[in-house]
């Protein structure tokens, strides 16, 4: 029996931050019924990478990864009968999750105060960019924007240039962790007390926990951190150096004096250890530019993989910077079941990411690929809600099931 096999989730999440939360629950056995209308499909279906580079709603590796293991119920809320289906699912569910802008659930009368009337011990998670209250609660958009307003962009880049920003919708990589933890803790509390509750998650507020030292440095010292390139206040050398080949790089970080001595030894530059420009950490920090040139000259004449092996062989933290191919072929990740091949009813054999952590006794089980819109209508309506053929027929006729 999987750990969360007794947990039932009604999932209105879309895009990334929300679905990432419920994916983690589905991996460990929660039954997740995902509501999506064919009249307005989840935008994540329109974002790549796509299988064989063919944009298709069921071919997105992004959507496929974030929604594996969930059931798909196609429902158009504007149609007669649809609301009753939702309310029946609320009665069935332990947890309702949604990630619309704050006014949407209220407009549909599906907000917590409306739903707790029919399900007093309901746990409901609302996740949006800035939270349900405050002057910017109506600010909607994507994780790129939440990452910009919460400081991530300005902390990623080079001191002499405009900010580079991290790749993609960064807060969407942070928020799912806090969202899943919040739901699990609320379930634990409910089990002991019988009480449900409402959880208001501002993705930006969760994400700020990943910038703690910089925020405290500003609050306590008045220092305004900015992107430092690859410099680190605690270590030198610390950088990403060119290797042979197109866009090939080696990351090297000397965290200890021993790492530094070993690096010099591997480069056959033991003279640097006693060179007064580099002897102590503060010297190396002061002369970073010169040091980086010396290391770059050494890495530049070999492949990234060869440099990694030489340095790791000497115990120096170093790695070839991997592209998609490198990650897909990485033996370490493969040994943990990072990628999973799965058959999808619409797009055939495809690949998704597995659970990112391993439970020794009750490991994750990804039971099904991400749903096609409405792909599990029959199962959800008949087996979960116990509707008969007649009732399902009425919903179909009303156009509610799309």
């Amino acid at each position: 029996m999987l750990p969360l096999e007794d947990v039932r989730v009604l999932d209105f999440m879309w895009a990334l931050a929300g679905p990432g939360t419920t994916r983690a629950l589905a991996d460990y056995g929660a039954t997740v019924v995902r509501i999506e209308s064919a009249n307005r499909v989840d935008g994540a279906r329109t974002v790549g990478p796509f299988k064989n580079n063919q944009p298709a709603h069921d071919g997105s590796g992004l959507f496929g990864t974030y929604n594996a293991g969930k059931l798909g119920l196609g429902l158009d809320l504007s149609k007669p009968g649809a609301r009753e289906v939702i309310l029946d699912l609320v009665r069935w569910a332990d947890v309702v999750c949604e990630s619309f802008s704050p006014k949407a659930m209220r407009a549909w009368r599906l907000d917590y105060d409306s739903l707790r009337v029919i399900k007093p011990d309901l746990i409901m998670l609302s996740s949006c960019l800035m939270g349900q209250t405050g002057p910017l609660s109506g600010f909607t958009g994507f994780g790129t924007m939440a990452a910009a307003v919460s400081g991530f962009y300005n902390l990623c880049g080079w001191p002499d240039r405009a900010p580079s920003g991290p790749f993609g919708a960064y807060t969407d990589y942070v928020a799912p962790r806090f969202g899943a933890v919040a739901v699990l803790a609320a379930l634990d509390y409910r089990k002991r007390t019988g009480k449900g509750q409402y959880i208001d998650q501002a993705q930006a507020e969760s994400a700020l926990h990943f910038l703690g030292p910089a925020l405290l440095d500003c609050a306590a010292n008045g220092r305004m951190s900015q992107g430092l390139g690859n410099d680190d206040p605690n270590y030198a050398p610390h950088g990403v150096y060119p290797a042979l080949g197109n866009d090939c790089w080696v990351a090297i970080a000397c965290l200890t004096e021993e790492h530094w001595r070993q690096l010099c030894s591997v480069m056959a530059r033991d003279d640097l250890v006693s060179n007064k420009s580099f002897a102590r950490l503060p010297d190396r920090q002061l002369n970073r530019g010169e040091l980086d040139q010396i290391i770059g000259a050494w890495t530049g004449s070999r492949s990234a993989g060869a440099a990694e092996l030489l340095l790791q062989g000497a115990g120096v933290p170093a790695a070839a910077v991997k592209d998609s191919r490198g990650v897909c072929q990485d033996e370490q990740l493969a040994s943990r079941g990072y990628l999973i091949e799965i058959d999808h009813p619409a797009c055939g054999k495809t690949v998704i990411e597995g659970s990112r952590f391993v439970l020794s006794r009750t490991p994750a089980s990804i039971s099904r690929p991400a749903p096609i819109v409405g792909g599990d209508n029959q199962y959800v309506l008949q087996s979960i809600l116990g509707y008969d053929e007649e009732r399902i027929g009425e919903l179909l006729t009303a156009g509610a099931l799309q």
């Binding site: 329109t46 580079s164 920003g165 969760s206």
Partner: protein
């Protein structure tokens, strides 16, 4: 919310955040440090730039809502004390290199013998086993090996990381989920288990599934100054405003195209573009570019028009416009602007913790979520080294003052 549970936090700087998340949720988290304190207390930045074990802002950021005791795990007596603590705990979190605790008879099997319910969470660079499990690691190295690093930065320079280390924070988030999933199961079965977290695998989430491109035979995204390249398309995300930078998503398709149409309506009203430009098919625009029906130069021209408009307005102006007209524009905030955010102030986000030993108080990042029934409370500022030794060893484990003095003399606590 998790107040019935005790968490023993043996983590090094790799794993601090996991225990803090559980502490924020109300668990009783005891940070166990080696005598003299965790070496991570000497990580910069420091309050007033004075290197001191009780002034590390790195430590402060990830250790609130914990108590601290010191314990020497290299001694038999130290280990015995840990076994006694384990007997009363639900979780133990650690981030030593694989094998380190086994060699000291403190592995999962050793500890579970003292408490069947124990959930032992290991946060390591690459996981407990596998061909590279013993690789030397750092934040940068993990980001390089998990996929995100190559995607961040400018195309004419080396890839660049976020200047606040991130890799282990992702791992800690996953560790907290794993811990609570195992806890849910333990409440049913009465048996704990081992949770194995690999930071390398955790950071794969930060590639937005770009890691899959090779296996799917799809275009891989590439880094670009202030944006991203996908296939032949250059997608700018960071744009220059009059007084700094903003982010703007200018993309197409049934959902994003609607926002681009609104943006073009604004540009037309501002006399920045003609009607023909405004009325391009922004929903299908991506497909038109892909097929070549719309030349890439025309897209680049429109991007130039948008850039000209944004550069003439302040960040605040543009943000107001975005809110009023429903545009995908947000200011690129500095750390100072984040601290002064009216939104965060209105939500009373910052939580002030007193540091009586310094005679000062500081605003900490606030609750990661708002719980209606069990709000997150900031009960304790990050602890001083061994601040709760007496409380835990005497009052909770029942050692006499003499026994504690003896342990201290032998450098066990």
């Amino acid at each position: 919310m998790l107040s019935p549970y005790r968490v023993l936090d043996l983590t090094t700087e790799r794993g601090f955040l996991c225990g803090q998340i559980l502490g924020d949720l109300g668990a009783d988290v005891i940070k166990i440090e080696p005598p003299g304190g965790s070496p991570a207390r000497l990580l910069a930045p420091f309050f007033e730039d004075q290197a001191d074990p009780n002034r590390s802002l790195y430590w402060w950021a990830y250790n609130r809502n914990k108590r601290s005791i010191t314990l020497n795990l290299e001694t038999d007596q130290g280990r015995e004390l840990l076994y006694r603590l384990v007997a009363g705990a639900r979780f133990l979190i650690e981030s030593y290199d694989p094998g380190f605790l086994n060699e000291r008879r403190l592995g999962y099997a050793d500890l579970a013998a003292h408490n069947r319910e124990l959930i032992h969470v290991s946060i390591t660079p690459f996981g407990q086993a596998g061909p590279k499990a013993a690789y030397a690691d750092s934040d940068l190295v993990i980001l390089a090996m998990g996929g995100p690093l190559l995607l961040y930065g400018d195309e004419d320079r080396a890839p660049v990381r976020l200047s606040v280390p991130q890799a282990y924070l992702h791992a800690c988030g996953d560790a907290a989920i794993g811990a609570l999933v195992a806890n849910h199961e333990c409440n049913r079965s009465g048996t704990g288990q081992h949770v194995d977290v690999s930071a390398q695998q955790s950071v794969t989430l930060a590639t937005q599934a770009n890691n899959l491109a090779y296996r799917l035979q799809a275009d891989e995204s590439r880094r670009m100054a202030g944006g991203v390249k996908v296939g032949a398309m250059r997608v700018p995300l960071v744009w220059r405003a009059k007084d700094g930078f903003v982010t703007l998503v200018f993309l197409f398709g049934p959902q994003l195209g609607v926002f681009s149409q609104r943006l073009m309506n604004c540009l037309y009203e501002e006399r920045r573009c003609d009607i023909a430009t405004r009325d391009k098919d922004w929903i299908s625009y991506g497909a038109l570019l892909a097929s070549g029906e719309e030349p890439m130069q025309e897209y680049e021209r429109v991007v130039g028009v948008i850039a000209g408009f944004l550069a003439s307005r302040t960040k605040a102006d543009l943000f107001s416009l975005a809110l009023e007209r429903g545009l995908l524009i947000a200011p690129v905030a500095t750390v100072g602007e984040v601290l002064a955010s009216p939104q965060l102030e209105a939500r009373q986000y910052w939580r002030v913790l007193e540091h009586p030993e310094l005679g000062r108080a500081f605003p900490y990042p606030g609750p990661f979520a708002r719980f209606s029934e069990t709000p997150i409370i900031y009960r304790r500022r990050p602890p001083l080294v061994g601040e709760h030794n007496y409380e835990v060893y005497s009052r909770e484990l029942g050692l006499s003052a003499e026994q504690i003095r003896d342990l201290a003399q032998r450098e066990i606590v």
